[in-house]
Amino acid sequence: MIHSLFLVNASGDIFLEKHWKSVVSRSVCDYFFEALERATEPENVPPVIPTPHHYLINVLRHRIYFVAVIQSEVPPLFVIEFLHRVVDTFQDYFGVCTEAAIKDNVVVVYELLEEMLDNGFPLATESNILKELIKPPTILRTVVNTITGSTNVGEQLPTGQLSVVPWRRTGVKYTNNEAYFDVVEEIDAIIDKSGSTITAEIQGVIDACVKLTGMPDLTLSFMNPRLLDDVSFHPCVRFKRWEAERILSFIPPDGNFRLLSYHVSSQNLVAIPVYVKHNISFREGSSQGRFELTLGPKQTMGKAVESVLVSSQLPRGVLNANLNPSQGTYTFDPVTKLLSWDVGKINPQKLPSLKGSMSLQAGASKPDENPTINIQFKIQQLAISGLKVNRLDMYGEKYKPFKGIKYMTKAGKFQVRT
């Protein structure tokens, strides 16, 4: 199982280590550093690195590498999922997951890691349970603790730890009972030169914020559940009921959680809400290149496309770009060659455009590669797949909760080739 964990910062220093079995020397990380050196980009470090006696599995989050050391055959996904959980927990506890935050709370971090794994076996990874075991540091609590001498370690066995609903603690009480659900869809798409879709798929999630007293039992039904043929559920969802009736039935965890994630595959028709007209060209023998880009909405069901951000990695030979945006602002970084244009909202009557010229190195030949355009956007009150919640009911408790559902569509990896 998981032997040790090392946290490595962007400059390649180990700033924290934790061992769940015997101590593994820091020097094992040298193999990781070698791989880091070989990788052209920080993201390109291979996730699994073999060493003569161990395997290193790492994830990069918030500019910190979480490097787990394993010695025997352990499913790599198991380790990666656990590392994700560590990152989430830190973020949950400290608000941000940065080197500074971890160093500032080093004792809590140690207590948490000790609680999360025992002999390399996951022990408590649910945020609910952890929070009962180790109270998150807040300024108020620190002050109170110092005055009263009480501690931030729970004295009681966490109730959820062994119940059939380990994700929910008992005795939850709220004065305002509310349950909010956010349906968020991200479109991943590749659009080719001519504007036709090569591949497009939707990654959707339903995130919930449930603050309900007692042990509520909820059901959520959809207008068009047939869209959801590829879903992953939070453990609280009763799978059998879903299989039989296509209804989500569950006792929710307390607070924020991801109820389900789903995937609408490339085999379905996916609506593409924006289009791009572009002309990026270089002439042989000239040190100038032309750049023209126009954005427009399509298939948006009448909703506005907002927070549009266009970015593109221009060819290495480009020295500078002299462009003129019809709205918003643009920047070009001559070192990284990254062009980014903050468009804002698309007005269908007056389409935003960015036009101008690029200057190339004198005498350099015409660049070989075609830049890809990356687009980000948001559309409020729309789930592009057409998914709609029908109704939400609560059983098991007497009070009337306040319910709310929000929809949003975002661009995921939305790429236009030129």
Binding site: V106, G149, P235
Partner: protein
């Protein structure tokens, strides 16, 4: 107010100050001090000096303080074992605490203190905790057994903890079950044969119940454990699959992949015509696709596994090509994996899309990726025949871009396309030749040279092109040098008149000026071939090459099966069996897929093709690491004509070869120089075996074959030493000696021909007169080179028994005629009858009895075999080596009776009874046969075999 304050101390005597604080009366101060100690510990400062002071803080009712002290203890107990004993009492006391949290914490921490003295005290509390009323304590204790096993395995076994742990699999609480399974799995890893996880339908049922209720991590442990089970029949298999399928919708990707593993393994047992089988296949695709929308590191592991799944069951993902399309900002490790899977999924239906994508990738920035993409186009061409033309034109487009590395890659793959589709796309050679100058990578240069050599007859200036490479011969890499050598030899064989100088030049460069043994060896071989027998050279060098297929990059089927059983593990990421790399897994058992029930299809024939289940498993061409292949490595790709080393028979010629003899080799007067001929004569003897066409096998190799064929013969058949059959005086200088042997069911006549005359002998041939058992040569006498004076050549002549029959006197007499360029010589020799004893000569007991009775007593002959000092077992072993089979053995009054049977090639059965008296070196042999005249010769064989 953050923990960073714990790092700030006054300069003087940090440890001293902490000590004072630790011993303070105030609880709060104590706790702050312990926190400071822990903080120092985390950054690697040595605070072990504070051990007694910290341990003193352990006895507290403050849980946080207790936990902090425990943290400290775990870190330093090893370095201060004596001090650690001080803590034992508190641990033991805490294990009795009414609060289960504290009981669990105590037993958990004790297990982490890796000090022998402490582990002794741990046993009693652990035993109690394993039976604790609170499941939280039980599940913690289960893990503790694994910890203890890691420290002291013997102790765990002696104390019977393993049995308690096994009992916990039936615990009422699912988390306890999951942890018990996890602990047992970990222990089992270091004891591969301990059979700790003895799975039966009852335990499986319990595990499946627990699976629904435990945490995600527990589910992974249970699923991985389930994967080791082999269901009794397809019905059980289906019911397990049904209960595991819901796990495919779990949010935790590790759970999903472990479930995929169980399903992939168990569906192997389901009959393919079952509806459920189809349903299951459909259910597997979505979760795999979903894994690809996760974080890149998850994607990577998922892709490596999908790569295996796609090879095993391409039908699962055949419609999902698009999800493998590469996004430009994917990390490089994800891009490369996606590319590989795209090619595996490429089919006629989607090839247009795939090619368009690949062409797009070839214009990206990342050089490694671009290269892979270009290669991928070539692989597509080879995989999907209909697309080959499109691929070639795409490659030509790419060559037109003149981007250096793109051009080079394209040329490398076009070479493969030529090999796959000979005489189809050679029109593009002209375009390729235009780019000759820009090639600077060895692989591309070698590929180009191969193309020029292979199609030399169609390229007008092939000699000029090759000559231009020759200028910098010594600066080239070995790969290019070898290729250049071969190409020029090919050119010479095709256009001998104008390229003689060139070939001489390259041969001397390769053999005389190079210190690379591979290059020299290949040079010599070509040289010798060319000089002795240009026709043979043509056959070898210009031999038709096997078509390459896309299957070369498939994982070998048995390995693939094993890897499918290891989906989701490190083995699946590295595509190597776990035994190959995981440390500490001593003697890992190789996992196999279960056999399918009912349909009669064995697990060994995986249905790789999409078209139908009848498709044969792909033949995997051996990799270039192949020993023989490497030796000559004809034309980069794995060769068919694996010419073995001629070393064994070169003793005589070796010296001369390196010396002056060489220069005259090309002179044309073949066989003129005696010194050279000696060396050359040996090579062709081995050649037929090398070509694999004739069953004849020369000297050294024959022995190898013998070993291979002789499986089941404990001692091996006896082969008499060679005797001179015809002396040189009687055959105008040719001396022939020989013997007979039966090797792996093939009768062989081993001949040594020695030239004792003054002139060279050529044109050997052999013929037999009609004989008793129809022996006749099964092939021509393979003496391809002239036999020069004082040279000996060993030839093995395979014999068949299908020739004309005539009874000879004596029965085993053989009249032979050997012809050479001088005359025809006749001689006769006698062969041991054991030559004709066939391998399936073991008679059924009953048949033996009946036959024995059936044969009239008149036909029985009695012989005495004298002076044998073998016991009956050794004797029967020895005889069995010559296909004399012992059917039964009886011991009567200190006398061993062996009953034996022999079958001759013409179907005659010989039955024998051999009596062996202990202490008496003389055996009595009674032989019964319907053809009594054979008996005498069978007896001779007995004597021959037993005495040697």
């Amino acid at each position: 107010m953050t923990d960073s304050k714990y790092f700030t101390t006054t300069k003087k005597g940090e440890i001293f100050e902490l000590k004072a604080e630790l011993n303070s009366d105030k609880k709060e101060k104590k706790k702050e001090a312990v926190k400071k100690v822990i903080a120092s510990m985390t950054v690697g400062k040595d605070v072990s000096a504070l051990f007694p002071d910290v341990v003193n803080c352990m006895q507290t009712d403050n849980l946080e303080l207790k936990k902090l002290v425990y943290l400290y203890l775990m870190n330093y107990a090893k370095s201060q074992p004596d001090m650690a004993i001080m803590a034992v009492n508190t641990f033991v006391k805490d294990c009795e605490d009414p609060n289960p949290l504290i009981r669990a914490l105590a037993v958990r921490t004790m297990g982490c203190i890796r000090v022998d003295k402490i582990t002794e005290y741990l046993c009693e509390p652990l035993r109690k905790c394993l039976k604790d009323e609170d499941p939280y304590v039980r599940k913690t204790a289960a893990v503790c057994v694994a910890k203890l096993h890691d420290i002291n395995a013997q102790l765990v076994e002696d104390q019977g903890f393993l049995d308690t742990l096994k009992d916990l699999i039936s615990d009422s609480n699912p988390m306890v079950v999951a942890n018990a399974v996890a602990a047992l799995s970990e222990i089992a890893e270091s004891h591969p044969n301990s059979n700790l996880l003895d799975l039966n339908p009852q335990t499986i049922n319990k595990l499946l119940t627990a699976l629904n209720e435990c945490t995600e991590w527990g589910q992974i442990f249970i699923l991985d454990c389930l994967a080791n089970y082999t269901p009794r029949d397809d019905r059980e298999s289906q019911s397990i699959c049904e209960r595991v399928t819901p796990r495919l919708s779990h949010a935790n990707s590790a759970v999903v992949l472990s479930a995929v593993k169980v399903l992939m393994k168990f569906m192997e047992m389901l009959p393919k015509d079952l509806d459920y089988y189809g349903t299951l296949l459909k259910k597997l695709a979505p979760p795999l696709v979903t894994l690809l929308s996760a974080e890149p590191e998850l994607q990577y592991v998922a892709l490596r596994n999908i790569n295996l799944i796609v090879q095993k069951r391409p039908e699962i993902l055949k419609h999902e090509m698009k999800v493998f399309f590469v996004k430009y900002n994917d990390p490089i490790y994800v891009k490369l994996e996606k590319l590989d899977i795209m090619i595996r999924l490429a089919s006629q239906a989607n090839i247009a899309q795939v090619l368009a994508e690949l062409k797009e990738y070839a214009t990206e920035v990342d050089v490694d990726f671009v290269r892979k993409a270009v290669r991928a186009i070539g692989r597509c061409a080879i995989k999907v025949e209909q697309s080959a033309e499109r691929c070639v034109s795409t490659l030509l487009d790419l060559i037109q871009t003149k981007v250096n590395y793109v051009v080079q890659e394209a040329i490398v793959v076009i070479k493969d396309i030529f090999r796959k589709y000979p005489n189809k796309y050679e029109s593009v050679i002209a375009t390729l030749c235009e780019n000759l100058d820009s090639l600077d990578e060895p692989e591309a240069r070698a590929a180009m040279i191969w193309i020029v050599g292979e199609y030399a007859e169609r390229i007008d200036n092939a000699d000029e092109l090759l000559e231009s490479f020759l200028e910098g011969f010594h600066d080239e890499s070995t790969q290019v040098q070898l290729q250049l050598l071969t190409a020029i030899v090919k050119l010479f064989l095709k256009k001998p008149t104008e390229t003689q100088e060139l070939v001489q030049q390259v041969l001397s460069l390769a053999t005389q000026d190079s210190d690379n043994p591979d290059l020299r060896d290949r040079g010599y071989i070509y040289w010798r071939l060319l000089s002795t027998d240009p026709v043979a050279a043509k056959e070898v060098v210009l031999a038709e090459k096997p078509l390459i297929s896309e299957e070369t990059d498939l994982i070998e089927p048995t390995l693939l099966e094993e890897l499918i059983c290891h989906i989701g593990t490190l083995a699946s990421v590295y595509h190597k069996p776990p035994s190959a790399f995981v440390e500490g897994s001593r003697g890992v058992q190789h996992k196999r897929l279960p056999a399918r029930a009912g349909s009669g299809e064995s697990a060994e024939s995986p249905d790789v093709g999409q078209s139908g289940p009848t498709e044969a498993p792909p033949a995997v061409i051996p990799s270039q690491g192949d020993l023989l292949g490497d030796l000559l490595n004809l034309d980069l790709a794995p060769p068919t004509a694996t010419v073995p080393s001629v070393q064994p028979s070169m003793q005589m010629g070796a010296m001369d070869l390196l010396g002056g003899g060489l220069d005259s080799l090309l002179g044309g007067d073949i066989g003129g120089s005696p010194s050279m001929g000696a060396g050359l004569g040996a090579a062709p003897a081995a050649m037929p075996a090398a070509l694999g066409s004739a069953p004849a096998v020369g000297g050294g190799l024959g022995d190898l074959f013998d070993l291979g064929g002789g499986v089941g013969m404990p001692t091996g058949a006896y082969v008499a030493p060679k005797t001179v059959w015809i002396p040189a005086m009687k055959a105008k200088g040719l001396e022939i000696s020989g013997t007979f042997a039966r090797r792996g069911g093939i009768i062989q006549m081993d001949l040594s021909l020695t030239n004792k005359a003054m002139s060279v002998m050529t044109d050997f041939a052999i013929q037999f007169n009609r004989n008793s058992f129809g022996l006749s040569p099964a092939g021509p006498l393979q003496v391809l080179t002239p036999l020069s004076p004082n040279q000996t050549i060993d030839v093995s002549l395979p014999l068949s028994t299908s020739g004309p029959v005539m009874k000879m006197e004596p029965l085993n007499n053989l009249q032979v005629a050997v012809k050479n360029n001088i005359d025809v010589f006749y001689f006769s020799c006698q062969y041991p009858l054991s030559l004709l004893f066939v391998e399936d000569g073991k008679m059924e007991r009953q048949v033996f009895l009946a036959t024995w009775k059936d044969i009239p007593n008149d036909n029985e002959a009695q012989f005495q075999i004298k002076d044998i000092h073998l016991n009956s077992d050794a004797a029967s072993n020895k005889l069995q080596g010559s296909n004399i089979f012992t059917i039964a053995k009886r011991t009567v009054e200190g006398q061993d009776m062996l009953y034996q049977s022999v079958k001759l090639t013409n179907g005659i059965w010989v039955l024998a009874e051999m009596r062996i008296q202990t202490g008496n070196p003389n055996y009595t042999l009674s032989i019964k046969c319907r053809a009594p005249e054979v008996s005498q010769f069978v007896f001779q064989c007995y004597e021959l075999v037993l005495k040697n």
